[in-house]
Symmetry: C2
Subunit: 107 residues, 2 copies
DNA sequence: CCTTTATATAAATTACTTGTTATATAAACA
DNA sequence: TGTTTATATAACAAGTAATTTATATAAAGG
């Protein structure tokens, strides 16, 4: 993916997250993805372009259809970044800060 | 957090991710966060507001300073959502789709 | 071949984001 | 109390994003 900006930005839109949730159930064509939303087909096509650009989905060509599915490595790379925060929080730097503060004599 | 839109949107900016990375090392004041960037103090203050609004950081008041630190529960809620995708990818629905396709007799 | 179906692209609109400078506030300090 | 230090807010400009409608393309099917 190499582009966390694009990945997180793509995930920040609820329609796009819903599309991903749908794709978690399996492949779907553009029209299948349009159906559950109150949005036009061009709007969904653009969301798909954003998701593809962010490396979150991939598309096949099958006649006139373009079935989409989740990209295999996408989430791993996001996880990797979040892991840094996760570790920091688990290690509980709050507590460490507290310890450091307590070490200063008075005040 | 309850607001994935805000959380992912906040994470989509590289300056904000850098701020979070810095806070992973421990608490920091606004001016300490301004220092490593080529941005003005108001710009950083705004980024901090965004991060706080997304539930990713919390702030204390300490005299005239506002030390920031990572919010404890933030990442967990993001993880929870990503977990859905993670599971879908691990379960490898690609393969399942393949199976279903193979089940259709000809064509 | 003509029509339908599936999808993409363009142009226009509206709204949000990020940054800047200038200014306000308020605690700390001399 | 007057000044400095730490931070926030306002107003503005520039860039980007999300929609919509209208239109293009291209495979499929009669």
């Amino acid at each position: 993916m190499a582009n966390l900006d694009a990945a997180f930005s793509a995930l920040s839109d609820p329609t796009r997250r819903a599309i991903l949730a749908r794709l978690a159930l399996g492949e779907a064509t553009v029209m299948e993805l349009v159906e559950p939303f109150e949005l036009t087909q061009p709007a969904i096509s653009r969301h798909l372009k954003v998701l593809e650009g962010a490396g979150l989905i991939v598309r096949r060509i099958e006649g006139t259809k373009r079935p989409c599915r989740l990209a295999p490595t996408a989430v791993a790379e996001i996880d990797q970044w979040l892991g840094m925060l996760r570790r920091a929080l688990e290690t509980n730097y709050d507590r460490l800060d507290g310890v450091l503060a307590a070490m200063k004599p008075e005040k």
